[in-house]
Amino acid sequence: MPIARIRMPRMGTSVHESTVVEWKKAAGDRVAKGEPLLSAESDKVEFEVESPADGVLKEVLVAPDATVPVGEVLALLETEEEIPDAPPETSPAPKAPAGGAAPKASGPPKQPEGDWVAPVAPLPPRQAPAVSPAPSRPAAPQARQAAPDSQGKWLSPRVQRLAAEHGIPLGTILGLPGTGAGGRVTARDVERFIEAGGSAAPSVRLLFRPLAEEGKPRERREPLTRLRRRIAENLSRSAAIPQASLWMDVDMSRIAAWREAHKERFREGHGASLSYTPFLALAIVHALRDPAHARLNARFEGDELHVARYVNLGIAVDTPEGLVVPVLREIDRMGFVDLVRAVDGLGARARSGGLTPDDMGGGTLTLTNFGASGARGGIPLLNPPEAAIIGTGLIAPRAAALPGGGIGLLPLMTLSLSFDHRANDGMAAGRFAAAVRSALEGMDLSHLES
C-alpha cells in the first residue's frame, strides 16, 4: 500500500510555521478524500488540512499545540492509490536529505511514498462542534440530546396539535419568539400567543436558579486561543497610545434610500450583498483626497509618521472565534461594484474562516461597525500602528431637527472617530470626521454603477 506524507501547508507567502490545533482523526481511522484530518493555525489564520485521498491514517507525528515549520510531515496516510510526488512547499533550502532519493539501507520491499501538501479548507464556523461522539454516559441528559439544534425549527407534537386546533399556520408558529432550548417554540409560547390574541409579544421568561448546572463546575478556565492572544496583545498596544475620540451624527437618508432601491439588483446582478460599508469606504476615500486630512490615514512608527497616499481599509469582522480585521487594499483605485464585491467577499471569507495571510496586515485606517449589535455608537480603539479608526453605530430612525425647522424622523448614524493624539490634534481629526460626514450626506449617488 502506498504511503503518503501529510505535510504542514504554507498558508501565504510570509508564513514559515504553523501550529497544530486539533486532530480530527486518530491513527487507525479510515478517512475519505477531502475529509479534514486536522485543524491548524498560523499567526494569521486558522485552517484545516484535508486528506488527499481515501485511506487509513497510519501515524500521527505531531501533537496538538506543537508549532512546526511549513513542510514538516504531520502524519502518514496509507492510501489505495499512489499520490503523485508533489514537491513540498518547504523553505528554499531544505536541510533534510531529499526523501526517496536514496533507497533505504534496510527493510523489505520499499513502499512507494508520496509527499503531499494537503489542500487547505476554510475552517467552518465553530458553532457546530466537530463530530466526535462522546463516550456515552449512563445518565446522559436526553432532553439535551433531543433538543432542537437548528435555531429552534423543531415543533413538538403538542405545539403542532395546538397550532392545528387553533388554525395557526406552522409558519406563524416558527416565527414566534421561542423560549425553549435553542430558541425552540414551546407549547407555552404558543399558548401565550393565543392568549395575546395572536400577537407575538416578545416574551422573556425569567428563571430563578443558579447559573451553574447541577454537578458542573462553577468556573472554568479558558486558555486563550492564538487569535484571542493576538487580539489581547494588539489591544494592549493600543491602550498604550494616547488616543482621543469624537463623534457626530450623520443623516443617512439618501444612502439608505439608494441602497434600498438597489440592493436586490446587486444581489442578482453581481451576486453580492450591498451593505453600508462600501458607502463609508467611498466617503473615507473622498475625505482623504484632501491633503489636509492625509495624516489621519497613516501609521505611527517609532518617531515617524508614515502618511499613506493610498487607502488600505481594515474592516473589523465579528467571527465565531473572535474579532478579525482583514484589510481591503488600495480601495482608492476601486470602482463601486468592485468595492461592493470586495467588501462582501472579505466579510464572507472572514466569517467562514477562509482568510489568507494576504488578507491581513498593512492597513492604513480601520472601520468598525457597532451597529450590528444594535449599539447606537461606541468609542473604537486604535488598531496599532494606525493613526485613526472610524466606528459606526446603528442606522435607525431617530427624532432629529429637520433642515427647514421642526422635528422629524431621520435615519441617523452615529459616526465616531478615535485618533492617535500624538499624530493629530482634535481639530484636525474633527475636520476629517466632518468631511466624511459631508461625503456621506451629500454623496452624488446618480453616477454609481449598479
Binding site: A139, A143, A181, L207
Partner: protein, 332 residues
Amino acid sequence: MSLITYREALSAALWEEMERDERVFLVGEDIGLGGGAFYITKGFQQHFGRDRVVDAPLSEAGFTGAAIGAALAGMRPVVEYQFADFVTEAFKMIVDFAAGNHYRRMGPVPIVLRLPSAALVSGGPYHSVNPESWFFGTPGLKIVAPATAYDAKGMLKQAIRDDNPVIFMEYKKFYNYRPADLPPQLQIDVPEGDYTVPFGQARTLREGEDLTLLTFGTSVLEALEAAQVLEREGVSAEVIDLRTLVPMDKEAILRSVKKTGKLLILHEARKRGGVGGEIAALIAEEVFEHLDAPIRRVGAPDCPVPLSPPLEKAYLPGTAQVVGALRELAAF
C-alpha cells in the same frame, strides 16, 4: 383521627383485620415472639395465638406455598418476608400458583405478600430491593406501594379484603419517620377506625402547571423536595404519587400530562426495566400529541445496590438528580 407512624399504621391494619375476620392469619419468619424483623407484629402472637401468627421455618417457598394452599381453602393469609429481596425464593409459588391459579382453577387466591422494600441505610445488595418490576409483567397480581401512613393502613386493609394476590410493597424507610418530620403533603391524618383505600387511584401531592413528576414509594420524598426547589425557580411541577402500580391510575396520569405536556418519571428502582419505561410507553401511545418535550426518567443505574454508604448515596436517585432533570425538562 391522629398522626401515627407508618409502622403503627401497618400494625393497626393487621390487628383490626384480624379482629374483624377470623380467616385472616399471619405467617412469616420470627413474626411471633420476635414481632418480625421490623416489629410490625409485636405482641400479636400473645394476643391472637400461635395458630394465627405463625412462625415459619426459613423457607420462603415453603411458607408461601402453604399460605397459598390456605388461601385456596378459604383463608386470608398475610405473608411477611423479612426483606423484599428474599421473595425470590418464593417466585414460582407466587407467579405460578398465586397469580396464575385464578385463571386455571376458577378460584381466587386472596393472599397478601408483605415485602419490606427499598434501601434503608447501607442495607446492601440483599436488603434493598425494589421488587415491583419482578412482578409487574405477571398477570393476576396487584401491586401496591403506599407512601404514607394513611395509605399503609387503608391499603393493607384493602389488600386483605381483596380476592386477588396482592404484592404489598411497604417501605422500611418510612417505618420510623415521625409524621411531623415528613413534608406536609405526606402528613395525612390516619383515622382510628376502619377505612380502606381503593386500589388504582393516584394522589396528586402537589398541583403544578409546567411539568408532571410521576413517582411512587420512597421517591415521593425526593420528588417533593425537587418540586419545591423548582418552585423557587419559577417552575411549577405537579407531583403525583401513583400509590398503586397494578391497577394503575391511567386517567390521572394522562390528565396531568395533557395539562403540562412534560413528564418526568421517577422511581428508586433501576431505570432499565423499571415501571417507568412502561409508563413512558403508555404516554407515547396515548397522548403523544400532548407532549412538548421528550419523556424523561430518573431511576437507579444498572448495578446492584452498593453496600458502601457513599456508593449507596450515589446509586440512589437523589434530589439533586431530580432537580437537574426537572430543570432540563423545564428549559426544553
